[in-house]
Amino acid sequence: MAHDMIPNTAKARKIDASRRGFLKISAAAGGGLLLSMTVACATPGDTTGAVTKLGATKPAAPLQKLNIYVSLASDGTIRIMGKNPEIGQGIKTMLPMLVAEEMDADWSKVQIEQADFDPAFGAQFAGGSLATPMNWEPLRQVGGATRLVLLQAAAQKWGVPVSELSTGPSVVKHAASNRTVSYGDLAEIAAMLPEPDKTALAAVKLKDPKDYRIIGKSVKQWDSPKIVRGVPIFGIDVTVPGMKYAHYVKCPVFGGKVKSANLDAAKAMPGVTDAFIVRQSGDDIMGLLDGVAVVGDDWWSCKEAAKKLNVVWDEGAGASYSTASFDSQAADFAKGAPQSNLHKKGDPDAAMASAAQKLEASYSYPFLTHAPLEPQNCTAHVKADGTVEIWAPTQNPGSGLGLVTGALGVDKSKVTIHLIRCGGGFGRRLSNDYMVEAAAISKQAGNIPVKLLWTREDDVQHDPYRPGGYHNFKAGLDKQGNLSVLTNHFVSFGRNGKTLSSANLTPTEFPAEYIPNARNDQSLIDANLPTGPMRAPGSNAICFAYQSFLDEVALAAGKDPLDFRLELLANPSSAGPARGNRPTFSPERMTAVLKSVAERSGFASRGSLPKGTGMGIAFYYSHSGHFAHVAKVKVEQSGKLTVQKVWVVGDVGSQIINPTNAVNQCEGAVIDGVSQLYQKITFDKGRTQQSNFFDMPILRMTDAPQVDIHFHITDNAPTGLGEPALPPVLPAVCNAIYAATGKRIRNLPLTAADLRWA
């Protein structure tokens, strides 16, 4: 896959016209040339030129395309394509750094442009903290191969062998004759040379990390100068000629069908041009669902007109779902035998029977919604000629393409998807319901371009929710206070023995492999609810439950919570679960980050803190990252909680590629984790009861703790940072609350907890 990134295609190149303005030329999947109009400022694909300071600059000379990633102008401007969707994780800036480093570019001459969704770029998605591990080597190879072409161009120009040449920032040097030529002056020759093939890519000799000039230096986000000026670069800002606006009304019960709607009343409202029923396509609950579209000249008028629709719904089976019923089913499951066993080690029953000390506790956490700040939106044009053009703020265009081709019955070769900057992702935009809605509305409205925008209420009430869950733990300690057995009856959500998306538990969840006897069982509450990955899926809430219960076990054993964890980690009985070619859980790496975070936070001296102030510790391995956190909280006698500071130490390998952004991601993960302590989504009569930021609060400035981030560098391949810093936040804070007040938080959200103390 990685080695297919630069296809070895024809020698002749055309001048890349996209930088010049208005015609965008790209190879269509079918092989022909696809011409499509884009409007300056409308499609924020950087066609208006890069911004280096607070003003715009454009290359003075046309760009020559060297390969799909790199184009070069005679004035030295280097344009590098950012292939992955940007959701605020900084990938648009980071991936081009890898290319630029190995091509030995002068970074001040680099401009970055967002790529469209195009199979030539290989995988293009924002998920799983995978961009770093998947691109670290291939994109450096792309850069190295581009450098090789520039060396060949200089060799041709001077008639000397490549072996006598070297490069510096954006120049090729010939030491023997003391000559230097800039990359810009090589652009024309280089553009005529063949691109390196797979063998050449694989043979590229990569730099020694000590020679890095770009990787490892803090590079600010490429789009920030536009952000601080209000330049329209988000999905919601897209405008195309002839575009109408659309509002889409769906059933408050998931998957409900439209029985009837007063379309004429909506059409009669000012600013409205059309209203119609759209029918469900396929059976994906995060796909195209039944609804009523109102189309018009501005979005607000469409939204207001929808109030006249009086839609009558067939709510279907989902109308019976309620959180109260889920809670009561979970309580019943906890009393009985589990439906299935996920993992068993040793003889947990015998170990429990012979334990010197036993404890049990039940933990629970609610469903959560992602709530990226930019509500879901998409602009789509299903054209009369059978082609489809989509401008989508999406994390996963590939799955959106599948929904669109399925619903419209068009071949994927007919669909162009422009990747537009997302106002937040957090996993929400891995689902592309809004994309297929926009496409279906565009088609049904008469093949006109349409910008669909959801309200915040639509977003909160139609989300692939982070599933709630219930953990029923039992633990047994031997006479020495060692954890001899831990069992969990996990009650989750699913159908026919299969968990809903992201409702699963890793069968060997820590500490199963680090103690002699363990068992994880599972029962599933039957429900067909929309669920999906949310930042650190399968880890974010699981970590809260396990790392909080382990704190209880440490306390029962009379051990320091840090020492207890270090003792567990010192006794691995088998390796962690394999995850492809990426690093697996390493007790040595985790031990190191735990010790480091304890030292940085002064965890050992917490005994001197006054009552009402406490520190808690937790660790977790997710998405290839090893992270340990310490939280310090203050709880006033009235019960008012302040999370004062969170220390984070993470091990994501040998190289932090863009330090400022890496730290920013971890700071955000801490705020996100603290925010989650206060949030919940509940259901009644099949409806989501929360609707907006009043009842689904986002943490604000005044409640945001101070954050200390440190990366523990190890000799492992670099891995991603979007997710792994989040999970330990919640148990670290909850363990700190216990230290401060003696109150154990076993159920989230915290809003239900009485933290008063005397």
Partner: protein
């Protein structure tokens, strides 16, 4: 109904219902898309503009109530020295992640530093109530102090 508005020093006449929120007039009628839609209920602050210099949630402000007043949006914030200093500080602090809230944050920060040129952390907490879903609050706090020419250390109790 026709309304004449003064936006960023320019006069615009729009023909819309009087209850249409200013945000949608700015975005869909005047094509100033820097002000963002986040909640529609005046909570998140992504839509923040200045009305006669005061921080205002444009998503819940009827266009009719903006007539005869000076509307300033993120697009004009760089027109003043203070605005430029804030923009520069935002970049120097590398504050944005997704960036969607930052226009509103900058509008709130500009109003804060106009009234309180040397804000305390408490002043910042009181004035900066806009939501940032990505959690860039630490950098926003730092950027405000940088723009104010103050030490950037967080003085809150730890």
């Amino acid at each position: 109904m026709a309304f004449t508005l003064n936006v960023n020093g320019k006069t615009h006449t729009v023909d819309v219902p009087g209850e249409m929120p200013l945000l949608w007039v700015l975005r869909d009628k005047i094509d100033l898309k820097g002000s963002k839609f986040g909640c529609g209920v005046g909570s998140c602050g992504a839509c923040t503009v200045h009305l006669d210099g005061k921080v205002t949630r444009s998503c819940v402000t009827p266009v009719s109530s903006a007539v005869g007043r000076k509307v300033a949006t993120i697009e004009s914030i760089g027109d003043s020295k203070l605005g430029q200093a804030i923009q520069k500080a935002w970049l120097d602090a590398d504050a944005p992640q997704c960036g969607y809230c930052q226009a509103g944050q900058i509008m709130a920060a500009t109003a804060l530093l106009t009234s309180t040129p040397k804000p305390t952390d408490k002043d910042i907490d009181t004035a900066m109530v806009n939501a940032c879903r990505c959690g860039t609050y630490g950098r926003i706090r730092e950027a405000i102090k940088m723009a104010a020419g103050m030490p950037t250390a967080d003085t809150r109790e730890v």
